[in-house]
């Protein structure tokens, strides 16, 4: 498996978790989500239009997140996504799973994570 392929697989596996985490406390629109992933990963992760939105739509279809068109004073109408109760459960489960996974990797590779 080439490094770019690995990269893609990892990204795909974690992308759902990233999005769910980012809207855990407040609703955000798609561009904001993309920006936050880029910023908080310090540029390591980047989603473009073609990868971010299909993912959002899929999560919405599964009933984990819910998008709504909201208009704020002085701003354009935007589609904001928020976590649904079902999504919240998934987030908890995925977070646990991810933690276990990272710890397992760490134990094998000796990489310590803060």
């Amino acid at each position: 498996m080439s490094s770019s392929q690995l990269d893609r697989e990892l990204k795909k596996g974690s992308a759902e978790l990233l999005i769910l985490s980012l809207i855990e406390d407040r609703q955000r629109h798609g561009y904001e989500i993309g920006q936050l992933i880029h910023l908080r990963s310090r540029g390591a992760l980047r989603f473009n239009v073609a990868s971010l939105y299909p993912l959002l739509y899929r999560l919405e279809k599964r009933g984990w997140i819910r998008g709504r068109w909201i208009e704020k004073a002085g701003q354009r109408r935007r589609r904001f996504y928020r976590l649904t109760p079902a999504g919240r459960k998934v987030l908890v489960a995925q977070r646990d799973g991810w933690r276990d996974f990272v710890e397992a990797i760490g134990r094998i590779t000796g990489v310590k994570y803060a």
Binding site: H29, G30, Y53, P54, E60, K61, R76, R79
Partner: protein, 897 residues
């Protein structure tokens, strides 16, 4: 700021999203790109550069990533600036445009589907217009549902619907309370003379109140008044057609005198040509005169010749009317036991009396065309299923882009309904052409051909059939297409998963259903064809070929007695005999299959009269010398009448074989004597001079009844009214010379119904021929459609198995094994279909019993031979694709993946 919406929309175009969804995505993505653009510019990028970067992201939009997503539309999507309702119409319009585009892309598929549907729908439209004209259209009378026909019920004598006698009718009219009114009528023909070419007209004697009872208003003049219903009143009412034809539609005809049967009648009114009364034969009323019973007639209970029509009072049911009439008849039986013992009354709705005979045949035909349509539906459903498999990639893409599954199902259904509407449009053309042909085969006594037309009711029917049809054949493919597993499909890289178990099962059941339904239709047609063969092989008792027949009704005024009638016929026969091409010629009474009346009870000398309720009826015909020879009726014993058999000599009678067997089973009947009525009647004895072979007189299907023949030279009250000419050439070529010969004797003598005897015989079985022909056409249609269906499914399945077959061949399977395997798969389905068909046909063909003759509804020979035909066709339909399977090149097949 740049506008990205156009770019995004262009990339979404192929995805066929709903407008709502598409707008939403365009809106959301364009905002994203604009934000991205703004940010890049704010960081110092040039606008062009920022634009290019944003578009790089977009370039992938329709790539794998978006396809992989599968999401559902929110149940209540918010669309900026648009309301939900307008989207429904937008969606529908989009569906139509999209469907038409899809059809244009695959013209072969569209053509096959449209033609199959057009055949099915067209057949339904055509038959429905006949059903509409015959069964559904109300009779042209006021409140026709209240009208009934009242019969005497003499079931024990073989006449469940006997024509009432005048005295019984008058008692009914006086004693009944359930009817608003009751009227009687009797057939009577008229010779119209004194104004150009003489003409014979069908007509009736009718009770004066008949027109009021029916609610028929005159176009000009008036109808009869009660005072005119007495002997000696010479008034007449004409129908519109006669009025237009002979009087130029001139209203001044009212009050004018015309000559009917040599007597002067005053025309009092004209009524519409739609005024039609039920009739024995092919009787088309053009003239009506008052019934006007003579005193003898009014007292007669033994002379049965009336038909009685009545209008039930509002709120009176058929059952209560029937009950009252039975009470009255029971009373009359006590009062007049000689005539009315065991005679009841039968009250029947007028409409059923008129259409009753044709109804079962039409219903069977209607069932048949529904079956044809079902087969067409199965075919198109199969085509759609095969196409759905091919279209799965497209559908997957649309689902991935957020198309709603129910929305997608709706769109697929819209496609099939539009397909079916196209089929209906072409079907209407088929139906229109078909009806033109059909009307030529419609027996005229069944209905007026011009009554059949594609009217608005038929159009609505066709539209409804088309929509139901579209939903019917579309529902399976549509639900199947939109319910496959998206992930699996995409994982398989767009390979067809329609060959999956579900799709295969569906296609197989469609083939089974097709085979079963076409088997039922073929059985129906086979039974009818078989019984028609039986019918045509029946011996009518005479030779119908090379026989010309004409009606020559002598006027009672001009030819009142036997000598004058004899002289007329003698002279006509002498002149006709000299015409080239004429072999023999004779005067005749009512010809076979043209008249159902004229029968009487007889007494045989030395045999005690039977009880009055068991007195058998003997059909009698008045004929001239040479009749048996000319008709080709073999004389089994004795001799024919000759010119010497006159009133001055011994009165003779020729009886039929059956009559001879009944009265003199073990003796030679020649020289025995019989007379009309009872032994005590005043009629003179007649000596049996000959025994003729039985002839089917009234009904082609029924067994011949007892018959006897009198010479018109030896009866005062009855005369011959026809001429029969045996020819050595095509009989119709002599029509004109014979007519001229008659007019050279009496230029005022009307000649009518010039026909070949073969035509009369054909007309007697016209109804059977009509049903048989139509059902045979529909069955052939069903067979072709079923064959195409089986062929299609087998071809598709061979195409699906290309790889498997290729591997088998590569591994050394013999081509003959491949052939056998493939054919076997097809025949398995056909076998199941046949079994289902046989079971259903066994149950269904029973409804046809009344249409069959000389054959049982479950005739094993028909069942076996039809099964073999269908099996053979199915074998061929599977063999051709199977043969193709054996030609598969294993290397190509394996590389195809």
């Amino acid at each position: 700021m740049r506008d990205f919406k156009k770019e995004i929309r262009a990339r979404l175009a192929d995805a066929k999203l709903s407008p709502t969804r598409e707008n939403e995505i365009v809106e959301e993505l364009s905002q994203h790109l604009e934000d991205q653009f703004d940010e890049a510019v704010s960081r110092g990028a040039s606008e062009d550069e920022a634009h290019r970067v944003a578009l790089v992201d977009l370039a992938e939009l329709l790539g794998r990533e978006l396809q992989r997503s599968d999401r559902r539309l929110p149940s209540n999507p918010v669309l900026p600036g648009a309301r939900r309702q307008s989207n429904f119409i937008a969606d529908a319009l989009q569906d139509i445009r999209y469907a038409l585009r899809m059809f244009a892309k695959s013209p072969a598929f569209t053509a096959i589907a449209v033609v199959a549907l057009a055949l099915g729908i067209g057949a339904n439209t055509a038959i429905f217009s006949v059903v509409d004209a015959v069964l559904l259209r109300p009779l042209p009378f006021k409140n026709p549902n209240q009208l009934v026909i009242v019969w005497e019920n003499a079931t024990h004598l073989g006449f469940p619907k006997n024509t009432p006698s005048p005295a019984n009718f008058l008692d009914w009219r006086q004693q009944s309370t359930v009817f608003e009114g009751m009227a009687a009528f009797a057939e009577r023909s008229f010779n119209l003379t004194g104004m150009g070419e003489p003409e014979r007209l069908d007509g009736r004697r009718v009770s004066a109140n008949l027109f009021d009872l029916l609610g028929v208003r005159p176009i000009v003049g008036r109808t009869f008044v009660p005072e005119e219903d007495k002997p000696g009143t010479k008034v007449a009412i004409l129908n519109e057609a006669l009025w237009q034809r002979r009087f130029g539609g001139n209203p001044a005809v009212v009050g004018q005198a015309i000559t009917l049967n040599g007597e002067s009648y005053t025309v009092v009114g004209v009524v519409r040509s739609t005024m039609k009364l039920p009739s024995f034969a092919n009787w088309r009323d053009q003239v009506w005169v008052p019934l006007a019973f003579s005193p003898e007639e009014a007292n007669s209970r033994g002379d049965h010749f009336l038909e009685v029509i009545a209008r039930m009072k509002p709120g009176i049911t058929l059952v209560s009317a029937q009950a009252e009439m039975e009470t009255i008849m029971a009373r009359l039986a006590q009062q007049y036991p000689v005539y009315n013992t065991r005679i009841g009354a039968l009250v029947r709705p007028l409409h059923e009396e008129i259409v009753g005979d044709i109804k079962p045949a039409l219903l069977v035909l209607l069932g048949a065309v529904v079956f044809v349509l079902l087969i067409a539906c199965a075919n198109v459903a199969n085509l759609l299923l095969a196409r759905a498999a091919v279209r799965q990639k497209e559908i997957a893409l649309r689902l991935a882009l957020g198309a709603d599954r129910s929305r997608l199902t709706r769109q697929l259904l819209a496609e099939s309904v539009i397909l079916s509407l196209l089929g209906a449009a072409v079907g209407l053309v088929f139906a229109f052409t078909g009806l033109n042909v059909l009307t030529h085969f419609v027996p005229p006594e069944v209905m007026q051909p011009d009554a059949i037309a594609i009217n608005s009711k038929v159009l609505v029917f066709t539209l409804a059939v088309a929509i139901v049809t579209g939903l019917l054949f579309g529902i399976a493919p549509a639900t199947q297409a939109s319910h496959f597993n998206l992930n699996d499909t995409l994982k398989e890289g767009g390979r067809d998963s329609g060959a999956g178990a579900r799709g295969k099962r569906l296609r197989s059941s469609l083939v089974i259903a097709e085979v079963a339904v076409s088997f039922i239709l073929l059985i129906g047609a086979g039974l009818l064809i078989n019984s028609f063969m039986h019918l045509r092989n029946l011996d009518p008792g005479f030779r119908a070929d090379h026989l010309l027949t004409l009606n020559v009704d002598l006027s009672e005024v001009k030819y009142p007695d036997v000598p004058r009638r004899t002289a007329f016929f003698d002279e006509v026969i002498r002149r006709v005999r000299e015409l080239p091409g004429v072999q023999s010629v004779a005067a005749a009474g009512n010809l076979p299959f043209t008249y159902n009346g004229d029968s009487m009870g007889i007494a045989a000398e030395g045999i005690p009269d039977p009880p009055s309720d068991q007195w058998p009826d003997v059909i009698y015909r008045t004929i001239g010398p040479g009749y048996f020879n000319t008709m080709g009726i073999p004389l089994l014993r004795g001799r024919d009448f000759t010119d010497q058999d006159t009133l001055d000599n011994t009165l003779g009678v020729v009886i039929s074989e059956k009559t001879a067997k009944h009265y003199w089973p073990n003796e030679d009947p020649i020289g025995k004597r019989l007379k009309p009525g009872a032994t005590t009647s005043k009629s003179p004895w007649r000596t049996v001079i000959g025994v003729a072979k039985d002839v089917r007189q009234n009904d082609f299907i029924a067994e011949p009844k007892m018959q006897m023949y009198f010479s018109f030279r030896q009866v005062q009250s009855m005369t011959a009214n026809a001429l029969i000419v045996r020819t050595t050439v095509d009989p119709l070529t002599l029509a004109s010379p014979v007519r001229n010969a008659i007019w050279s004797v009496d230029k005022d003598q009307p000649v009518s119904n010039v026909n070949s005897m073969e035509h009369i015989v054909a007309r007697a079985v016209a109804r059977q021929r009509f049903s048989m022909l139509l059902l045979a056409i529909f069955a052939a249609l069903a067979l072709v459609l079923a064959a195409v269906g089986i062929y299609g499914v087998m071809s598709y399945s061979v195409a699906q198995q290309t790889r498997e077959i290729g591997i088998r061949i590569a591994l050394g399977a013999k081509r003959s094994d491949v052939l056998a395997m493939t054919v076997k798969n097809g025949l398995k389905l056909v076998g199941v279909g046949l079994v289902v068909g046989v079971i259903v046909a066994f149950a269904l063909t029973r409804v046809m019993s009344s249409l069959l003759f000389g054959i049982s509804a479950t005739d094993p020979l028909t069942f076996i031979s039809i099964a073999m035909v269908l099996f053979g066709v199915a074998l061929l339909a599977s063999y051709i694709p199977a043969l193709r399977a054996t030609k598969i090149d294993p290397m190509l097949a394996l590389r195809a993946q």
